[in-house]
């Protein structure tokens, strides 16, 4: 499938393009809407991602163009404020991703869902005459479509960790097959919070989206009741209002019937999946209830997983702010990128760090390390280490000299317990010909890898003594030349020591993973390796994982 991406200039663009390519799509990056239209029309692009200004206009043109009916048009942005969701859908967008998934597995799932939606929309246009009948009571064809729907929804929930965005796509899948209106609500401390909603009629969706995102309910509110009892309810007539005190706002668009199904997982009910019809002729039977229950079970698991993930990333974010550099320095001709994930559920502060900073005499140093200890001890030692490295780099050029300074500081400050630290440090200088000369020193740290532009992978540097133990560590500066497209990959043993179902991940599998990154940019390499390490441990790394990448521009 050809994919056209229009003027995407967000942090996730690079990884997204690479993920699309990895999934076998021919990716075209169009700078303007006009160029995108040309690509879409002349070459029959099946998927268009729009991120630029004038989103609505672009969507309309893409939809109205010949062959546009079953085209997947996805609008993407960083935040909710970036896109008016219902307006985009009304203008012809198939789905809205805020933000888009960048991991290939999640992207594949979301694409499947979007294509399902586009196919269905196209079918609706063609078969408008029989739409009424099709939306009626279940028949053979409807049942087949529903099982297709579930098949498309499942990978969506299995793959993605980005909760809000995933559930929005899920809600969109349920209309109009299963219902005319779909809500995903969670209940926390007596407050209903709307996580996602979708309606078959854009006007209804606009009304529902205009309601407050969160509101207080009493015990007799249907959402509160279903959460309390964890039993599904079928509601009729007046009682079908699942909007707390806000039902008045919907006027004549009030639901006539509703199915409210609990989102229960790991013994806890988090909220509800509410499906409603506004049409007196439509109802819900056992088949719909079974389908909704199945869907709710999967959605609940996704909600719960995402909660764990969000807690984890919140801790990681705080860590990154305090212990990791706010941003990596910019250096002409070299792209720097890094990734970091603390161990376990993210509640423990780990000992891995990375940093990049200017060095004496120009050039930039890229450092990665692992301090011993955990919690506050590790955090303070990380601070000391980074500060000392940065200061030493202002006066010393040789990586060994910088590391020796750090060693003296660590040995001098040892208390009852030692302060030990492993570091790999690379100083990068850009040569006149666009190549990069690197000097690499390793102190007790796994040797960095170089990924050549042609795909070869080699370990660089020589093993040296861990810092903080003896006053005279043996350290070596190892020179390495990097050409255009070559990438230097620094990592911590959280990757190689990852416990996978087939044993520790190990040096050889890491080298193979790095080899697979040939052609990718620095950010994508770091993201890919981090993802591989986390995924191989079923999402819960037992040690921190840190990766820093420097890639010479081509």
């Amino acid at each position: 499938m050809r994919a056209v991406v229009v003027d995407a200039a967000s942090a996730w663009t690079g990884v997204l393009l690479e993920s699309l390519a990895e999934l076998g799509h021919e990716v075209v990056h169009a700078a303007t809407a006009t160029a995108a239209l040309d690509h879409a029309n002349d070459h029959g692009a099946a998927f268009v991602l729009v991120t630029q200004e004038g989103v609505l206009e672009t969507c309309r043109s893409l939809r109205d163009a010949a062959g546009g009916a079953d085209r997947v048009i996805v609008v993407a942005g960083d935040h909710d404020e970036d896109v008016d969701v219902s307006a985009a859908l009304a203008a012809g967008a198939t789905d809205v991703w805020l933000p888009p998934p960048t991991d290939p597995a999640a992207l594949r799932a979301r694409l499947t869902a979007a294509r399902h939606h586009a196919r269905r929309d196209a079918a609706t246009v063609v078969e408008e005459a029989s739409a009424r009948e099709r939306r009626g009571r279940p028949n053979g064809r409807a049942a087949a479509r529903r099982s297709a729907f579930l098949a498309d929804a499942s990978p969506l929930l299995d793959a993605s960790l980005d909760l809000r965005s995933t559930l929005e796509s899920l809600a969109r899948l349920t209309v109009p097959e299963l219902a005319e209106l779909c809500l995903v609500d969670v209940l926390e401390a007596g407050e209903v919070r709307r996580v996602a909603c979708a309606a078959a009629d854009p006007e209804v969706e606009r009304l529902v989206r205009a309601l407050p995102r969160a509101y207080v309910v009493d015990d007799e509110d249907p959402v509160a009741r279903v959460v309390r009892t964890a039993e599904s309810e079928m509601l009729d007539g007046e009682a079908a209002g699942v909007f707390g005190g806000w039902r008045g706002a919907l006027e004549s668009r009030m639901p006539r019937r509703a199915m409210v199904v609990p989102l229960t997982t790991r013994g806890r009910t988090l909220g509800v999946l509410a499906l409603a019809v506004l049409d007196d002729d439509r109802g819900f039977g056992d088949e719909e209830l079974a389908l909704a229950t199945d869907l709710a079970r999967r959605a609940a698991l996704a909600v719960d997983n995402a909660r764990l993930f969000e807690q984890q990333s919140a801790v990681a974010r705080v860590l990154q702010e305090s212990l990791l550099p706010d941003r990596l320095p910019r250096l002409e001709g070299i792209d720097l990128a890094a990734a970091y994930r603390p161990a376990g559920d993210g509640t423990e502060i780990g000992g891995d760090f990375y940093d990049a900073f200017p060095t004496a005499g120009g050039g930039v140093a890229l450092a990665i390390g692992d301090v011993t200890g955990k919690g506050a001890t590790a955090a303070s030692l990380t601070g000391l280490t980074r500060h000392t490295l940065r200061t030493a780099a202002m006066y010393e050029r040789a990586p060994t000299a910088i590391l020796e300074t750090l060693n003296r500081a660590l040995v001098a400050q040892r208390g009852r317990r030692g302060k030990y630290c492993t570091v790999a440090l690379a100083r990068l200088d850009r040569d006149a010909d666009g190549h990069v000369s690197a000097d690499i020193a390793c102190a007790g740290h796994p040797l960095p890898l170089v990924l050549r532009a042609g795909g070869d992978v080699e370990a660089v540097g020589r093993p040296g003594t861990v810092l903080g133990f003896v006053p005279d560590p043996r350290l070596h500066d190892a020179p390495v030349k990097l050409g255009p497209g070559d990438a230097l990959v620094l990592y911590t043993d959280g990757i190689t020591e990852a416990r996978t179902p087939t044993g520790l991940l190990g040096d050889e599998r890491l080298a193979a993973l790095v080899r697979e990154c040939v052609g990718l940019g620095a950010g994508a390499i770091a993201a890919r390796l981090e993802h591989a390490a986390i995924a191989s441990q079923q999402g819960t790394p037992r040690d921190d994982v840190a990766i820093a990448v420097a890639r010479v521009r081509e």
């Binding site: 011993t372 955990k374 030692g418 492993t422 007790g444 861990v466 133990f469 003896v470 560590p473 020591e497």
Partner: protein, 105 residues
């Protein structure tokens, strides 16, 4: 994910034979066993790591601290790294020649 520590009282001191994983969750136990053995001031304390399946910076910290304590109190700490994970970490961190390393069997 567990650690087993067997203590053997031998002619010239105490020998701790560790197997399983030395990591964040099991490190404290190993450290406690070491400190306990040290209070008895054996002429030689042997830490046998040859049956360890996992050994990371947690294990390294415990090992290096024990060595520093031994030097400070004029005791002898002998480390048996074997050929597995502990040996790999000692090679990577280049500390083998600063410790009393024994090759046994």
């Amino acid at each position: 994910m567990a650690i087993q520590i067997e203590r053997h009282d031998e002619q010239d001191g105490i020998r701790l034979e560790v197997s399983g994983d030395v990591d964040m969750s099991t490190g404290d136990r190993l450290e406690q066993e070491l400190l306990q053995a040290e209070t008895e001031a054996p002429p030689t304390l042997t830490l046998d790591l040859s049956h360890v399946d996992f050994f990371d910076s947690t294990g390294l910290q415990i090992l290096l601290d024990a060595d520093v304590r031994a030097h400070a109190t004029d005791r002898r700490l002998v480390v048996v790294p074997g050929t597995g994970e502990a040996a790999r970490v000692l090679a990577l961190t280049q500390v083998a020649d600063r410790l009393n390393v024994a090759v046994i069997e």
